[in-house]
């Protein structure tokens, strides 16, 4: 079992946890695996050393409030001492969608409405919704024995080492882009997706890794997806999407720039050394726990749509420039004299700014 698969499995089994808690848990185990690998232990042995999976989950849940002690879809069987699956045979899908899947479905409905509006306003290609199975679903095998098979490894393609590039550019036309972290850069995609990548160095020695993804049928579907995992690094990350969702979780880079024409951007627990910017023409930006140093900046802009932003630390560390031309602004922090510049602007829509001062 590779570290990336293990962390994704952990996220899946703990998907009902609050986002901050989920990131804390996954960050702890990701770091623990990295430490062992730095100590010369092979990746799969390092993952195995984390402990028996079901016991690990029980220990994690036991540290949380009681509402999280039992995993959704499971009954606690005190006589057995293990969790018994409430419904279905091993290998069947969970009986209820996780909060993240329900949220994703809601965002796709909004996106479909936005695209329909664009079609009526200008001559564009019409997208039709179709369900296409993913090539890399994580199949989980459950039984009632304490030892549970880990999910089968997905079919990943390694990418060039980001430590050897200055900039990574990811371009997709339509669909979902999921960005996460891994010790080895890799990419995977759904059945109806094709991608290509290449590395170029200019005359000044500046190296760019470009990853282009397109969808074979040119038909929008919630299953058109590209998953890119990147290690922490000192690169610039540029993401360009025509229509769809961009999810970025746990990345560390020197700079991150995201632009989405029609769609959503969800950013969770990112750390940048210089700056982060996200711009959506029509859609939605949700940003939580974006870490920048005292010389850094954050810029989020949405032409038509909403921005929800929750930043870490003390508001006194920031200088705010917030604006909403037409809509509601819930941003109790304006101006300021902190070292981190935060620029949030919405043309038509709502803006919400808060702080997690944990």
């Amino acid at each position: 079992m590779k570290k990336h698969d293990f962390i994704l499995w952990l996220r899946n089994r703990l998907s009902d946890l609050p986002p901050a808690e989920l990131d804390r848990v996954c960050g702890f185990y990701a770091n623990a695996i990295d430490e062992r690998m730095e100590d010369g232990i092979a990746e799969e042995a390092a993952v195995h050393a984390m402990g028996e999976p079901e016991a690990l989950l029980r220990e994690i849940r036991a540290t949380l409030p009681e509402q999280y002690h039992i995993e959704p879809g499971f009954d606690a069987d005190p006589q057995e001492g293990v969790y018994a699956r409430r419904l279905g045979e091993p290998g069947q899908a969970a009986p209820a969608a996780s909060p993240r899947r329900r949220g994703k479905a809601a965002l796709l409905i909004i996106l479909a409405a936005v695209i329909l509006t664009l079609v009526l306003a200008a001559p564009v290609v019409l997208y039709t919704h179709r369900t296409i199975s993913r090539s890399h679903t994580y199949v989980e095998y459950y039984d009632q024995a304490p030892n549970v098979d880990m999910p089968a490894a997905a079919d990943f393609t390694p990418l060039p080492d980001p430590s050897e590039v200055d900039r990574i550019v990811i371009r997709i036309d339509v669909g979902t882009l999921q960005l996460s972290t891994s010790t080895v850069a890799n990419v995977s995609c759904s059945d109806n997706t094709k991608f290509s990548f290449g590395k170029e160095t200019d005359g000044n020695g500046f190296t760019t890794l470009t990853l282009d993804a397109a969808f074979k049928d040119d038909i929008f579907s919630d299953e058109n997806s590209l998953d890119v995992a990147l290690p922490y690094g000192n690169y610039e990350l540029v993401i360009e999407s025509d229509a769809g969702s961009v999810y970025a979780d746990g990345l560390i880079a020197r700079r991150i720039d995201i632009s989405v024409h029609a769609g959503t951007v969800q950013l969770n627990c990112l750390n940048v050394k210089d700056s982060l910017s996200a711009a959506v023409n029509t859609g939605y930006i949700w940003a939580y726990d974006i870490g920048v140093p005292k010389t850094g900046s954050i810029s989020l802009s949405c032409d038509i749509g909403d921005i929800t932003c929750c930043l870490p630390g003390d508001p006194a560390d920031y200088t705010f420039n917030t604006s909403v031309a037409l809509g509601e602004m819930d941003a109790p922090f304006t101006g300021g004299s902190g070292d981190i510049a935060v620029d949030l602007s919405v043309n038509i829509g709502n803006l919400s700014l808060s702080f997690d001062q944990e």
């Binding site: 960050g27 770091n31 990295d34 402990g51 016991a55 690990l56 220990e59 430590s163």
Partner: protein
């Protein structure tokens, strides 16, 4: 060993591992390995509990392109170690009593 007793002992062991210097998860496991066997699945809840109890504080340091979390022993954590050592005398007395009773039966 009784689970509660073991849990309490392990918590104090982790606090003791932080007494001389701040440390991080894997290093704590290595430092304690000659004395107690710990895995991350056991250590994580211990660290969460002692942090929630104010016995340690946490900070991050960049290491090889990632953030390594370090744990720092607080005065409350130091007091917890001392309380354990003081309480242990009571445990030893009880142990001697129980063992003494078993010897009589034998």
């Amino acid at each position: 060993m009784d689970a509660q007793l073991k849990r309490g002992i392990l918590e104090v062991c982790v606090l003791k591992a932080l007494e001389k210097q701040d440390s991080y998860g894997y290093q704590i496991i290595k430092d304690l390995s000659p004395f107690v066997l710990l895995s991350e699945s056991t250590l994580y809840p211990i660290l969460r509990r002692i942090e929630a109890a104010g016995c340690v504080t946490v900070y991050s340091v960049e290491h090889n392109g990632r953030l390594r979390k370090y744990y720092h022993l607080t005065p409350a954590g130091q007091a917890r170690i001392l309380d354990f050592l003081n309480d242990w005398n009571e445990v030893v007395k009880a142990y001697d009593f129980i063992r003494g009773t078993d010897d009589e039966k034998a």
